[in-house]
């Protein structure tokens, strides 16, 4: 790695003692000698193991659940169903007034994705819990499922989530989050070329080294300590408190070093049910995702579709950009309504365009619920935007890097969401990339700056 101190030296003081120093990480020796304690290193006498019975169907009505054989399985201590969960229907952003509550801790009457948790089995060993889980009998009536966002948005599509009532998240702005800036149709009408292209992505897995999980210990004083690898301690504690209808003062959450998060550990999934198990049995409970659960059950990055329509002039100026973004939330909201909104605030990318129209939709399907992941709401948008930029440059016969200089935002430029640009540095990054990659651009671009006088 190289630090190029010649850029922005006029606005930066380099006289600090500790900041800017490549100090060795204090936790590295523990990591490389295996001494760092992770949540799963907690082991308590009498600890129970929790395993989930999961839906084999993408969409089905539950006619009945028979747990009697599982309860008789040797080593089984307790079997939990929806009726055991005090506040079973929840949503994680309710703490900051983003509803509606739309997801069940344990399925109640219906499953909406393949892998959904239906019954929790607590047993003396992992093996006993696994074997007993296989003995739970659930009678399903399979319902038509929808896997594609465009299909889901068509009239007559199977309704995925009754708590929403339609297959998209209803924002205060309507069926999508909107950004309107200038007159995009006038921009297209006056453009030398108009290019509309569509981009798509698949869900991907966070693939942390350490799978999602927690270990809960009753403390004997009516409090419960939850050792967890959540990425957000109070967020999880407060949601667990709501789901369990238990005062937050009864809960003590202990985290520590997490073996990789990447956004995959911001849903509140394992802790509430494990605490409930500890409360109802009076024993410590461990609930740790297998690698298979981590890869196929925990929220992936959403599948997305992005349609971009641009008007561009022969001289390289983009005069209009219309973006329609679709985020596949899967069956439940989790963080996806925010992800789609974050996309609306990110488009049209780091470029100054006078006419912009953005619609971003959060769509429900019978896929695995998606949620936050590194680059949430932005990563796929950037893929789409930057491939589109390449296509536009080639369309007008211009070097792709020079084309970006012409449109790059600079200090003071008004963004589509009506914030003036501050602290821009795109131009300088491109100048340095031009040098580093030996990708020459015209001298006038190398002389540009993100600064503007008076900005």
């Amino acid at each position: 790695m190289e630090l190029r101190k010649n850029y922005f030296a006029d606005v930066r003081k380099d006289d600090l003692h500790e900041i800017g120093q490549p100090r060795p990480r204090s936790d590295s020796p523990g990591h490389v000698t295996g001494k760092t304690a992770y949540f799963a290193d907690r082991n308590f006498p009498g600890m129970l193991h929790l395993k989930m019975v999961r839906s084999p169907h993408h969409h089905a009505r539950i006619r009945s659940i028979d747990t009697s054989e599982a309860e008789r399985h040797p080593g089984v201590v307790r079997v939990l169903t929806a009726k055991d969960v005090p506040h079973n229907v929840y949503t994680i952003l309710i703490l900051i007034q983003i509803g509606p509550e739309d997801e069940t801790v344990l399925a109640d009457g219906k499953v909406r994705w393949k892998g959904e948790a239906v019954v929790a089995v607590l047993a003396e060993t992992e093996r006993a819990a696994q074997e007993a889980a296989a003995k739970v009998k659930v009678d399903y009536e399979v319902l038509p499922a929808v896997f594609d966002m465009e299909e889901a948005l068509k009239p007559g599509a199977p309704l995925v989530n009754e708590y929403h009532g339609q297959n998209y998240y209803l924002y205060d702005s309507g069926e999508c989050r909107k950004v309107r800036f200038g007159d995009v149709e006038a921009g297209f009408a006056g453009a030398d070329h108009v290019l509309e292209q569509s981009y798509q992505s698949s869900p991907i897995e966070h693939a942390p080294t350490e799978t999602t999980g927690c270990v809960v210990a009753p403390e004997g004083n009516d409090r419960f300590t939850c050792y967890t690898n959540t990425q957000a301690m109070f967020f999880t504690l407060d949601n667990a408190s709501i789901i369990l209808q238990m005062p937050g003062s009864k809960l003590h959450f202990v985290g520590g070093t997490v073996g990789g998060g990447f956004g995959g550990k911001v849903d509140v999934i394992v802790e509430p049910i494990a605490i409930l198990g500890a409360k109802l049995t009076g024993r410590p409970v461990s609930f740790i995702y297998s690698r298979e659960e981590e890869m196929q059950i925990s929220s992936p990055r959403a599948a997305e579709k992005v349609v971009i329509k641009d008007g561009v002039m022969k001289d390289g100026r983009i005069v209009a950009r219309k973006v329609t973004g679709y985020t596949d939330a899967g069956a439940y909201s989790r963080h996806s309504p925010y992800g789609a909104q974050k996309g609306a605030g990110h488009y049209p990318g780091p470029y100054t365009i006078p006419n912009v129209w953005i619609d971003t939709y959060c769509v429900y399907t019978n896929r695995t619920p998606s949620s936050a992941m590194r680059g949430f709401g932005v990563t796929i948008g950037d893929f789409a935007l930057e491939v589109q930029m390449d296509k536009l440059a080639r369309l007008i016969g211009m070097d792709p890097l020079e084309f970006r200089f012409i449109n790059a935002y600079r200090d003071g430029d008004m963004k589509a969401h009506r914030q003036p640009t501050e602290g821009a540095a795109l131009i300088e990054c491109m100048q340095e990339a031009s040098r580093a990659a030996n990708w020459p651009v015209a001298e006038k671009y190398m002389a540009m700056s993100s600064y503007r006088k008076g900005a």
């Binding site: 800036f181 992505s201 890869m295 196929q296 680059g375 950037d382 893929f383 935007l385 821009a424 990708w439």
Partner: protein
């Protein structure tokens, strides 16, 4: 049939933090009797090294070496609220809270030192080595060790401070979308060079040259580990990963690291990282959040390089050999 070479570029920006509920994080700082400093948080270290960087931020602000600072975090019985570690917010939000708390603690520390030295607190400075000196008369000094002892056992002062980061929540305007979605933006430009085998569709990423502008590299070694890891993750996202390889058929999703495709050590490109620093007005010592941004530009850069190499556009991720071969076949027809 041939191995064809191409290169592609992408340029991006990325917001720091989230626009939800004011995006708050708090910190507490206090001194021990012998002048070590404890930072108490509930933020989570995901392995990116948050504890280390909070120690350096606290040390810089108090004016002591980093090894005099201990970070206690991720315990809801002791640590004040943090929204969480995500949205490229950890260093920026918790760092701001730590600076505010450390400044308050430093002020008490200087007041106690002033009483001991019989001068005004405003005439004092720290040397960064654990001593407090009179400005312009450095021979007149006291160690922070002695100041802390005095505060604890003689002067009855708690060398401590509270800090919090909070911004006004921005509700997007319904019709126009006017909003303030972030506080500051990091930037990047990546050039990727690939080889594409037009017989097998296989893509080899040869080099990835990344330029990142991150506000301030608080600890350059830790910046490097995060940016290199992110760059690899971007390549993996571009070419390999999907939980649903046969979508809309949901069967055959990977269930372990043998089935879920990711690049192995032999698949990693020669990776160059160049860092620029334009300090942000509101960041801790100017830092922005590059944690997510660093995995984004490689994806379109690789896609554009594939087009440059073989002349087909793959607009669906991941860019698999199958998709490339099908596109080449369609192009030939």
């Amino acid at each position: 049939m041939a191995i064809r070479r191409g290169r592609g570029v992408a340029a991006i920006n990325y917001p720091t933090g989230m626009n939800l509920g004011g995006d708050p994080t708090q910190a507490l700082v206090h001194s021990t009797p012998t002048g070590n400093f404890m930072v108490t948080l509930s933020s989570v270290d995901l392995g990116q090294g948050m504890k280390q960087i909070m120690a350096q931020i606290c040390a810089e602000t108090i004016g002591v070496p980093t090894d005099r600072v201990v970070v206690d975090t991720a315990d809801t019985d002791t640590g004040p609220h943090c929204m969480g570690t995500f949205a490229s917010r950890g260093t920026h939000r918790a760092g701001n809270a730590v600076i505010q708390a450390a400044r308050e603690a430093r002020q008490v520390m200087l007041e106690v030192a002033a009483e001991e030295l019989e001068v005004n607190a405003s005439d004092l400075e720290t040397d960064g080595q654990g001593n407090i000196l009179v400005k312009g008369a450095p021979q007149k000094s006291i160690s922070i060790f002695d100041v802390a002892l005095s505060a604890h056992f003689k002067r009855g002062r708690s060398i401590s401070g509270r800090g919090m980061f909070l911004i006004p929540r921005s509700y997007p305007e319904k019709e126009t979308g006017a909003m303030k979605p972030s506080t500051c933006y990091a930037h990047a430009c990546t050039v990727a060079e690939v080889e594409v085998d037009d017989e097998t569709g296989e893509v080899t990423v040869l080099t990835v040259k990344n330029v990142f502008e991150i506000g301030r590299a608080l600890n350059p070694k830790m910046v490097e580990q995060q940016l290199v890891g992110g760059s690899w993750m971007g390549i993996s996202h571009a070419l390999y990963e999907t939980t649903e390889p046969y979508y809309p058929n949901r069967d055959h999703g990977g269930t372990d690291f043998n089935q879920y495709l990711m690049p192995g050590p032999g698949d990693l490109a020669e990776t160059e990282i160049i860092v620029l620093e334009r300090p942000s007005a509101d960041g801790p010592y100017g830092a922005k959040g590059p944690g997510e941004m660093c995995a984004n530009p490689q994806i379109p850069a690789v896609a554009n390089a594939v087009f440059d190499a073989v002349g087909v556009r793959i607009d669906t991720l991941p860019i698999t050999p199958e998709r490339i071969l099908r596109a080449l076949k369609a192009q030939a027809n």
